[in-house]
Symmetry: C2
Subunit: 378 residues, 2 copies
């Protein structure tokens, strides 16, 4: 009963305030949602917020809102629920709270995925005007992350957001969209199918009540949620001033892993990413495996660094390497000259050259011995 | 007279030993070049090197070598010369000396550029199998560096080396090739014109005496010189095991600035570069200006970070921004709904909306007010 009162009070507060308003979240922390709602409903001004919320609070009907939402398959998750994602509580500790920084009053959710599963999730965010390179990189990376069992989280915009969901879903993994508008709305409209798919197989999440439009403030508030809900954020292509960099900034403040995928230096959408790496804010990542290593508990995911193929010379004895090292790369040299260069006896060098030729590492030309193509890497 | 004896002794030692042999360089530091040469010529074994050098020392003829070199426009620069590049002395301090680490006995040089000018130079190195992206990035960057007056230093290989020289020369700047073979030889042969051009306008430099072939050991020894001669090294495209990474490693050991240009994560030649950045060994750079900032004395070169264009909303009053922030991005909303969202009075919101429409930031549709394309960036 009291759980239901709590939920209704939070629905009413969510309906009467802008997402991320730090005054409301702060008062909820301080007084509790039910007393705050009662005070404001009785037109007691608390924390100076009454004038801003009273008009909306008067028309709020939380029972009806919840009922309508339930009919649409939408639930309202609050901190006392088992699935409440504990990552959001870190917003209480973030150093810069003034800018829409506190936890949401609750989250509207459509979809089977329980929000507490997001503790292991990875955000993949980036430019709406992504290049095909960026979109492919985001999709590949999201596919590897999702296949490992970690949900992928993003917005629902064109470009990187869309590519991340596409990659995660194609790999059979889970994907979650966090919106700036109500979870019953499709913005952009072209992504209605994608959002329906996510609601059917993963989740669509928003702090804004059903029916609400996206506004700039709601996008900014949404970005903090993406950072807080996930274990790490990967930025793939972000222009210098972009929402993705705002999310990145939140990830840093919240001590989440911040990762960034580089691109050509000639590509404008990679500029913001390169700044993040240059400044030391983000770690450069080139693959989903590297992302998993960053967010994994130590040893959980170990990436094998690309090492290059073992070369034929690696398998030679030191003596043979010494001879090989003295063989010219281009025009050939006679065995005695190679022996002098190597500081070894002529007989030994001759027999070694013959063996190296047998391995295809040196070749005899009319000018003498020289490296074969196989060994010509320095 | 004694300067000439010193030079001849060093020519003879250079002719009898492999480039970078740390035993010889160590003995030169310890005893001086003239006494060492005398001892070895008299077949006294010093430091256990006699057996390796005696055969070559017997046939060495430094007067003839110097004379022949002079006829070809080649000089032999030794530490007592004014133009001796002091950066090479840092090789004495490098932490890992065992691997061909000491300063050269002398440097063979062809070209008008004085080597002491290299104190301000920048090495641009990378893959021989560069992509056109990498080659263009190297050329652009080298052009900016050279135009600023700093010489560019590289090898003479295909790919990035060639692109770096091309960029530096095209900008009217100076460029220097450091070779693994004698400075009178063209390796690869296809770069004969390039090397002639560098010898005419910049310099071609080698530790290996004229006439000598390139070998793997000489390439490795050459790499340490590129790092030591320059103020910083920029790696553009380097496969995971490549000579460029060997040069990068030397630059780190010598406390030079190590910089790296990222590329697509799908590009094999960028893998080694991304590893350098990931490991923290190299700083990501995207332009010649950022390179100059890294190597410049503080404040000498200040890069203006790309900031993105100032947006129309940046010029609005706070009140107007508040209204703008409450206008939906997609489907329109009525003024009273916007007023509730913004927490402002209806009359004020109406007049503000009209003004914002005048600035082209919002538009009125049949559904109501919504953001115009100009303002639709979040």
């Amino acid at each position: 009963m009291s759980a239901e009162r709590e939920r209704l009070a939070r629905v009413a507060l969510a309906a009467s305030t802008e997402p991320g308003d730090p005054r409301i979240s702060g008062l909820v922390e301080e007084l509790g949602a039910v007393p705050l709602h009662e005070h404001l409903s009785a037109e007691h001004d608390i924390g100076g917020v009454l004038s801003d919320v009273s008009a909306r609070l008067k028309v709020a009907d939380p029972e009806r809102d919840l009922e309508q939402a339930t009919r649409l398959g939408i639930r309202f998750v609050i901190p006392s629920d088992d699935e409440w994602p504990s990552g959001l509580d870190d917003l209480l500790m973030a150093p810069l709270l003034q800018e829409r920084g506190l936890p949401p009053v609750g989250l509207w959710v459509k979809g089977p995925l329980r929000l507490d599963r997001l503790a292991a999730s990875v955000a993949v965010v980036g430019s709406r005007s992504a290049t095909s390179y960026g979109a492919d990189a985001a999709a590949d990376l999201a596919a590897v992350v999702a296949r490992s069992g970690a949900p992928v989280v993003s917005g629902a915009a064109f470009g990187i957001d869309h590519a991340a969901h596409r990659g995660a879903l194609a790999s059979g993994g889970e994907s979650v969209a966090v919106l700036a508008c109500g979870v019953d709305r499709a913005y952009p409209a072209a992504h209605k199918n994608l959002l329906d798919h996510l609601a059917a197989e993963g989740a669509v999440v928003s702090e804004a009540p059903p029916g609400w439009s996206p506004t700039r403030v709601r996008f900014l508030a949404r970005n903090r949620l993406i950072a807080a809900l996930t274990r790490g954020t990967v930025v793939v292509e972000a222009a210098v001033r972009s929402g993705a960099l705002n999310t990145a900034n939140w990830a840093s403040r919240l001590n989440r892993s911040l990762m960034a995928v580089p691109g050509p230096v000639t590509s404008a959408p990679s500029q913001g990413v390169h700044q993040l790496i240059r400044s030391g804010a983000a770690t450069l990542v080139t693959s989903g495996a590297e992302v998993l290593e960053m967010i994994g508990s130590s040893g959980e995911h170990l990436v094998e660094e690309p090492r290059g193929a073992v070369r034929p010379r690696d398998r030679l004895s030191v003596r043979h390497q010494q001879v090989l090292d003295a063989v010219p790369v281009s025009a050939g040299a006679r065995a005695d000259s190679i022996a002098r260069t190597a500081g070894l006896g002529l007989l030994e060098v001759r027999s070694t050259l013959t063996r190296l030729a047998g391995h295809g590492l040196v070749e005899h030309t009319e000018d003498g011995w020289r490296l074969a193509a196989l060994a010509r890497t320095h």
